[in-house]
């Protein structure tokens, strides 16, 4: 699943922000290396919500995200949490 999440995240980022495949490194920092500004980060959330078809509830946790790897990990954790909620109720 991690590979699928990574592929979807990088595809969405490249399409929305006109980034190059070579820039899609796990350690790439969103602001410093990819050049996204604060408005872009807001857009990134909307793009990811659209790509994964869910609503990100924990917006505060997004502040901890620094790298692309953090984004993929955050998405994986969110999907996991949603599955847990669905299983419980």
């Amino acid at each position: 699943m991690a590979d699928a999440i990574w592929a979807t995240v990088t595809q969405a980022m490249m399409e929305e922000f006109e980034l190059e495949p070579a820039q899609m490194r796990p350690e790439a920092r969103i602001k410093e290396d990819l050049g996204l500004d604060s408005l872009d980060v807001v857009d990134m959330v909307i793009v990811l919500e659209s790509a994964f078809d869910f609503k990100i509830q924990d917006k505060a946790a997004l502040k901890e995200i620094v790298t692309l790897s953090d984004v993929a990990d955050f998405i994986a954790a969110t999907i996991e949490a949603e599955r847990g909620q669905a299983a419980n109720g």
């Binding site: 922000f17 980034l19 872009d40 659209s50």
Partner: protein, 252 residues
Amino acid sequence: MKPAAEAARLIAANIWCWGCLAIISIAALAAAPLWLLAGRLRGWSWARGVREGTWLYARLYLASISPFVRLDIRHAHRVADFAPAVWAVNHQSWLDLYLMSAQPVRNICILIRAWPFRRLFFFGPLMRLAGYVPTEGADFGGILEQCRREIADGAAILGYPEGTRSRDGSLGRFHSGLFKLAVELNRPVIPVVVRHSGRIIPKGSFIFRPGRIEISYEAPVEPGQFAGEALPHGGLRRCVRQDFQRVLHDVV
């Protein structure tokens, strides 16, 4: 052209272009108080007075360097036909700021990064007086409100979506801010495509190279056509960038 003649022309161009810049800038600063007072008598705000004066100053400078820097201007009427609009301009050289006077609209509100307000000798205070908008680290809501007032006052909003000057003339990534403003203001975006200003005097260089600059005011793009998208400003940004790519690749 022979190397010696080419070198002589290069030297002459630099003496002329820098000399004109110094003379016209000093004359403009000396005339500024009187100009601004005359503007007040005509009912202009201070900001309007500075903008009108800046346009005239830039126009005079472009005219003065025309023996070495020729301008090829296309479709400039569009900025007046679709006013007030948001202008997206690609950025290669500090000369681009002077190129804004290559068209008839004088009331222009420029969105600029924060550093020119702090570091540029006398331009900083003038930019503040002109009501230009510093965007770096600024709150989007505040920028939007200021731009809304400017549009209501008939001003054009000019921004450089790449955010910085290109070193090699290639088109950089477009940031979203300018397009988000256009969507919120519901005003068309006019792509202003500049070619070769970076060849005349590139980023980091102090040497003028004689040549020709092309400025093309492309057909306006209405933000309403992207209303159905999840990120309307994203669609607008991509559409405008495609216009830039088309013109930069097609025009010879």
